[in-house]
Assembly symmetry: C3
Homo-oligomer: 433 residues x 3
């Protein structure tokens, strides 16, 4: 029942990811701007620039960070660690270090590696504590045997702006569905170029629709500080949000996992589980926990926006997480397309869900007379649409929804929705509210 | 704990089914009247005749259908398909066809068979779309190789009446339990001569009782249109109905299945599950679904009467369903008797269930002093009645019922009810409401 | 996470049990007084004496029973059954029998044995029906082959008092936790010298604490009549009791079982399950049933005090139950210490549980700025305390408790409590009351 993906989508998604991969993103800086520029070629983005020092809820927008270059040179003047080869080499938000020689021991205290994966470079950040450091593979670390090294970090960490992008799609109703992807990770693909790509193309698909019941808001924001900033600037808009999703790590080879919102039984939670169950592919639904991605902020006690999270690899739970192994080879086109279709399937449940009241609630209405039911009786196997009509009528008491009907019947949401449309057209049920 | 069945019951039930088997029943007509006449020999039935054209809820009582004869003859003038040999051969509600020759191809378009069961005749109806047809075995169909056949349906389909029977047993309280069986199927035994037989003898057993707490209403009605008609004519009585059962397919060799009412947690649902669990025989309880038998109508959104369904073979789920294989050999005496006892066991839970308030709620009352508890202490295995007294006292808070006590204790309803009676007699508990 | 037991505790507990073992206890009499005197050496006990004939709820305090001697002699004048060898030989509350000869058959009607355990003496009582009897091993019974025996029971059963002990520990709040152990069984160890010992040393440990949030009330009472008496004399105090535990059969080799209070979802129930789950040792939680020990009375409909029961061997479910095999060899020191630690762990959950409201509920507060969160980002394995802080903040909505946070997070209560304390200290959350 997942909507068919348009021709060439896989190629387009992978191309977007490839173009975004080399950029050195962080929670602020030109990497985010360049990322939004490229995403903006797929869908119009409103770009926001929030000055450093702006209070946002309990936090403050930090100084802006940009890097021109960073390296560690040996005696021979060779770059043994080189930011130009991988932006992961530099701890994000490293303060500037003018070129200077330092003893090996002093340098090593600033190095991060992964002994259990000797070829991989870890990804580390130090956003809120001024510091500097390099991330290296364990093999690189072992090869640093000279007594002294020259170190340089040509970065700026100074008042500037935090940048984020927003795409708003108005619908028939002012209530909004929020889709959020973080744009603060450097050369990591699954986390979260995959989420950015899926979000972008889902937005484009929705924009192309003639009709949307709900309004949709897509956020491309730096993790944590970005969602906090957006929430701080849009507090009056929060009550309009019916629910939403954060999209993360959607390109790897794992099956889908849906992480429920705080309450666990919100419409978005039921819609996601229904849509994924109907797909026929295995998936897991897990309870909310207050770490992970920006669903943390949306679900915080003061907001409690029911935002779930759709992912494949789980936050901190796969070996490649936050390492250089999360590279272009780690994400797969078919997985991206499947995630894209799954998000649309979830949103289609939200679009189609409604509460109905039967206009013929006393006994069943005579469907046959209206030409929408088989005329010949006695057979044992009525088709799904006919069963779905009976389910919708049975639950058309103004209390239950089509999601209830889909859950109870096991027929899948699409056929239940079709049945409701047919019954509505024949004036047998009426939408409530 | 199921009440013992009276001597000769099995023989009586089978004899009733045998007498009903040959009758050509449909949703209207003399077959229904003859059926009610035979059932009426077991218990007095109020017979209702509702004119064709009467609006009943969203439906209209159809014309009355009767058949004198129907056949297909070959060139030799032999009846190759003969209504007199099985009334299943004629599609129910077939309009009259004056004897006429028709090419084989034209005839075949009006024939129904079951390729997967070449010896069986299917059962088909066309109540609300004027049409005609014959049901034949696949082997008969294959043997029809001549170029032309003569066809005759000597039926009448004309304004008349819809007929149904009702048996009301007054109890101490005006609230009613509804038991319904459909009487519209021709020569099919399990579906639903078994239900008719069980219902009839349960009614007779209840009628013989000196005391009934609840009133009971037994309906012998054509499926769908019959329950709709009854509901249309008795809307003011619906609020008096506490719950009920449809009785269907109770004679085959399968274990019992209880299909819950729409809400799933009504007293009838808990009573049924409790009674069946106590029987010691395997059974299954399944959720409500809006197809099956007349529980569809009783549970519809406007009424929501908590009516469950007791069955063995499930609607549309056994091979013999709606075929000539559902014959006299398909139903078994002991299964009918067991179903009869099970229905009475369910009704006994409803009869005996109550909410109590302890008259000695602070700590346990001293049962020993009243001579209703073992005098010797220290043993590890008090008997069930003593445990049941403790359970009833523990739950005698005016909120819980004896069904709660039976469910929580696992002791079975009968001993819990006995304990309550004993405690009530000693002024230790008082019935609420 | 169970608190470490103090040095020498195991030895002290076993020594208390050994000193209590020989005493002939019953529901009244000097055996109870001597028991309270020995327990009183561990913690100050308020001793209550309630006159025989005092009405207590539905019951009456019985006459006091004391025994000097009891025996059965053969022709040779040898004591073939001798109360001095085991107080179990005499049915508790046996009325006096002046020395007299009786035919074997008459005697045997007063004898109780356990054919399935030929070496064990059963424990029997006849508190409320005047009677007399001896308990003997099956082998003893078989050896009684002479035609006549001389029987003597030198007991008194006369107006006196019912005795119980109480230890009250005031806390910051007047609301109380009730811990109750029965003191009415003669030479049986697990049932309930183990409970008496665990209760005594838990009381001593709590008394030694500088701070207790709740007040604690320890009861050392005869089973059933003792709790009824206490309840009758303290009805005005019942609303102050938040919940409690009966402590029984805690020394045998089985794992712990927690029997829930009547409602099943009380704070004590959740605390017990949480504490036991965190211990890492297997345990079982079972639903309330209205037999067993004094939790019956506390949970009765008029009181519904949520009192659970902690035990190893279950009431009536182990072979040694109420037999001479429940002797000093049947209880084990490490099991007693583990039970002691488990009770304290449960009480620590009650002590530490609270409902909080976040003072920074909109998005997460910035923990790093306050120095209570790791500065370096990107790692996949934050430690438990950091996760616990996020959980506590996420649930700090004034509705959820720390028990909720511990249950949802699976982190264990202790770390959740530590996190809350840390957050409270940084003015990030505020306790709701």
């Amino acid at each position: 029942m997942t909507p068919a993906a348009p021709e060439g989508l896989e190629r387009e998604m992978l191309a977007l990811i490839e173009s975004l991969y080399p950029i050195c993103r962080s929670i602020t800086g030109d990497g985010v701007r360049e990322t939004l520029r490229l995403v903006g070629q797929k869908l119009p983005l409103e770009q926001h620039e929030v000055p450093s020092g702006t209070p946002v809820l309990d936090w403050t927008v930090p100084d802006e960070w940009n890097v021109r270059d960073a390296w560690i040179k040996n005696r021979a003047g060779e770059r043994v660690v080189d930011f130009r080869r991988s932006n992961l080499h530099l701890v994000s938000y490293s303060e500037p270090v003018s070129p200077r020689w330092m003893p090996r021991a002093e340098l090593v205290a600033h190095l991060h590696s992964l002994p259990e994966h000797p070829d991989w470079i870890p990804y580390r950040t130090s956003y809120y504590k001024r510091s500097w450091g390099f991330c290296v593979s364990e093999k690189q670390l072992e090869s640093l045997t000279e007594a002294e090294y020259e170190v340089c970090i040509d970065s700026t960490l100074a008042p500037g702006h935090l940048t984020y992008g927003e795409h708003f799609l108005p619908g028939e109703r002012p209530e909004e569905i929020l889709i959020s992807a973080h744009v603060c990770h450097p050369s990591l693909c699954d986390d979260n170029l995959s989420g950015i790509a899926v979000s972008s193309f889902v937005a484009r698909a929705l924009a192309a629709r003639a009709r949307r019941r709900w309004s949709y808001r897509f956020l491309f924001i730096p993790g944590t500080i970005g969602s906090l900033t957006w929430l701080a600037r849009n507090r009056e808009g929060v009550p309009r949000i019916r629910g939403g999703l954060t999209l993360v790590c959607l390109g790897d080879e794992r099956g889908l996992t849906y992480k429920r919102s705080f309450g666990g039984g919100a419409e978005i939670d039921r819609a996601a589980q229904l849509a994924l169950a109907t797909s026929g592919r295995p998936f897991e639904a897990i309870d909310f926990f207050p770490y992970g991605y920006d669903e943390r902020q949306f679900n915080s006690p003061g907001f409690r926006i029911p935002v779930g999270s759709l992912m494949r690899g789980r936050h901190g739970r796969f070996a490649e997480y936050h390492t250089s192994a999360d590279d272009l080879g780690f994400v797969r086109g078919p997985q991206l397309v499947d995630a894209y279709a799954s998000v649309l399937a979830i949103l289609d449940v939200l679009e189609g869900n409604a509460r109905f009241r039967s206009l013929s609630p006393y006994g069943e209405p005579q469907l046959g007379r209206r030409g929408i039911y088989r005329a010949m009786g006695g057979e044992s196997d009525p088709e799904a649409l006919q069963l779905a009509m009976l389910w919708v009528l049975s639950l058309a008491d103004g209390e239950h929804t089509l999601v209830d009907a889909a859950e109870r019947s096991g027929l899948g949401f699409a056929v239940v929705r079709s049945a409701a449309t047919l019954l509505e057209r024949h004036d047998l049920i009426q939408e409530c509210d």
